[in-house]
């Protein structure tokens, strides 16, 4: 990082945080602190929803996934538009008319207090864990760029986020999200343009596409039916729909965003915007990762992208043959790529076949060498399931992007993390205060008392996230880790809201035990089967509904005969 990069980084962050705090003035009542006084326009909510979901993980991990595994991850988002339509038609008007602070408050209106409490606790467990992972992402950035210890940077970022969230409330979070998404869009476009310009002059953009495709890095759609494959068209459409129904319909960190809307229509528009914009945005980010792959066809990348781990295993005697195999495979792949392009331009089918085989064979050897290096990390005292996916894009940014742009990309990552984390912590504090503290421990407090309680809850959850962030390193690719943690809890939450909206005869006790059964089914699936995490939501939701219907039938309560 040069002086200019530091200046860009510092200025961007200061402006974003300062603007958010400026727009949050007057958040001096509980309504304003937690719901922004129901004053937000659709575009602010839309960008805030997008920013909360995106966070730094979007840049760090998604691009790395495309580099290593291609663009299949985009299918994960195919269920999102369907989920948004369902939510706009059902959940949004109900939550607005129920006049609630949290999604779980509605469950007491519909069922009973114990169902609300259980749903709140499940949310707190799930979102508390995710908040830690969100904080972990920028710690990677600082450890790579500055060489700071990850734990120290987690603490630094966490304390900053706690301060910012405690002072500004949801309004500050939302308006800073707007600024951050604008910078993210700008940063994405500039990064791709720069990347294409960095390619060798002999490689045109269509050539880059051809080489990425030949290596399987542009595999946006996979139609195979495989329950154990995380990303296929079917898991995206079915599992993704359930996951996003859960995330946007039952997760307070998102529900709180559209509860701040001026009207039902404004909230609906914010979700419709995400339904339309999210897939192209993810496609674009993955495409950047695929182009980073093409860039590294002609510039030899390190065996591992995390410099600290690479330095550590380089002292091992077993590393030398791995490095030699890697260098030889890289040279073969580079030559095969050039030969493949030549055959392609000459329209020689036999040549293309032959060179494609050589190209993929060399890629296979490179992947093999990288896997061996990762195993060396594990055998030399590091993580057994080590993965450097999260370091690929950052390594490229810091080594090859021009001065100034490095600072901007790092600022984008920082700002996005701060915002996403702030939103999560804000929602955790809201549920703790509204659904637990105010409901069970202090029912008759003043508005000022609850405002201060909200701020103390914010501090508590920020500290909790900091502690959990220390586990991030053991969870592999961050974006998958975040969604895996969510999937352990979302299914049962979705199930209880499905019961609330679509099964009028079901009452509180049936819903409560349905949730417990759903959670048990998800954990059993997690620990006793190899089924992909995207299906946990479907399984959990189905189990909640089935159990509640059976209990309702058995009880045959008087309500049923109404």
């Amino acid at each position: 990082m040069t002086g200019l990069d530091w200046a860009v980084l510092f200025t961007t962050l200061t402006v974003i945080v300062g603007y958010g705090l400026y727009r949050s003035r007057g958040s001096d009542t509980v309504d304003r602190f937690l719901l922004a006084g129901k004053s937000m326009p659709w575009y602010a909510m839309a960008l805030s929803i997008m920013a909360t979901q995106a966070s730094a993980v979007t840049f760090i991990s998604t691009t790395g996934q495309a580099y290593a595994d291609g663009m299949r991850f985009v299918q994960f988002y195919f269920g999102l538009p369907i989920a948004m339509v369902v939510l706009c038609a059902t959940v949004v008007p109900v939550f607005h008319r129920a006049k609630v602070f949290t999604a779980y408050e509605y469950l007491e209106q519909r069922f009973d207090a114990k169902t609300r409490a259980l749903a709140s606790i499940i949310f707190l467990c799930q979102r508390g864990l995710s908040a830690g992972l969100t904080l972990y992402a920028p710690a990677i950035v600082l450890s790579v760029i500055l060489g700071w210890p990850e734990r120290a940077t987690i603490l630094l970022m966490g304390v900053t986020v706690i301060t910012y969230t405690t002072l500004g409330g949801v309004k500050a979070v939302t308006w800073s999200d707007v600024q951050q998404m604008i910078i993210i869009f700008i940063g994405l476009v500039i990064a791709l343009i720069t990347l294409v310009h960095l390619m060798p002059s002999a490689i045109s953009f269509p050539d880059a596409l051809y080489l990425a495709g030949a290596a399987g890095r542009l595999n946006a759609v996979t139609t195979d039916v495989d329950w154990n494959d995380q990303f296929t068209l079917w898991s995206g459409l079915i599992g993704g729909t359930f996951l996003f129904l859960s995330y946007f319909g039952c997760d307070q960190s998102q529900v709180q965003r559209y509860l701040t809307g001026k009207s039902i229509a404004q909230s609906r528009l914010s979700l419709i915007f995400n339904a339309v914009a999210k897939i192209p945005m993810q496609f674009f980010i993955l495409f950047i990762g695929a182009m980073v792959f093409v860039f590294y066809l002609f510039v030899q990348p390190p065996v591992l992208f995390e410099q600290a781990e690479l330095d550590r295993i380089q002292t091992s005697g077993a590393f030398r043959p791995v490095a030699e195999q890697y260098s030889q495979a890289f040279e073969r792949r580079r030559q095969a790529a050039l030969n493949l392009l030549e055959a392609h331009h000459a329209q020689s089918a036999a040549g293309v076949r032959q060179q494609t085989e050589a190209y993929r064979s060399a890629q296979h050897d490179i992947d093999g060498a990288r896997e061996q290096a990762a195993r060396l990390v594990g055998s030399s005292g590091g993580d057994q399931d080590y993965s450097d996916t999260n370091y690929i894009f950052l390594s490229f940014v810091t080594k090859y992007l021009p001065v100034g742009l490095v600072g901007l990309i790092i600022a984008v990552i920082f700002a996005a993390t701060m915002s996403a984390s702030a939103g999560e912590i804000n929602s955790l504090a809201t549920v703790t205060m509204v659904d637990l503290y105010k409901r069970y421990f202090h029912k008759q407090g003043s508005d000022h008392h609850y405002l201060m309680a909200s701020r103390w809850c914010t501090i508590f959850w920020g500290a909790y996230a900091i502690v959990f962030a220390g586990w991030g390193r053991t969870l592999g690719s961050l974006i998958v880790a975040v969604n895996k943690v969510g999937s352990l809890f979302y299914g049962s939450l979705l199930g209880v809201f499905v019961l609330a909206f679509f099964f009028r005869r079901v009452r509180g006790t049936a819903a409560f035990f349905g949730m417990l059964a759903g959670e048990a089914a998800i954990f059993a699936t997690r620990f006793f089967t190899g089924i992909s995490f995207l299906w946990y939501n479907v399984i959990g939701c189905a189990m909640v509904v089935a159990t509640a219907l059976v209990i309702t039938h058995i009880k045959a309560s008087p309500v049923i005969s109404e």
Partner: protein, 44 residues
């Protein structure tokens, strides 16, 4: 001062009704998936 929790609903600013907006989103999704499928097949 009006109650901040007053709930208002309005038609969408385009396409006239919300169900039409929802159908437009679903059709858009179909187009996106087909485009991604074509992208994959054309470049694999």
């Amino acid at each position: 001062m009006p109650d901040i929790r007053d709930v208002r609903d309005e038609p969408p600013p385009f396409l006239g009704t919300w169900p039409r907006v929802y159908w437009a989103v679903i059709i858009y999704l179909g187009v996106i998936i087909l485009a991604c499928y074509g992208f994959t097949r054309a470049l694999e």
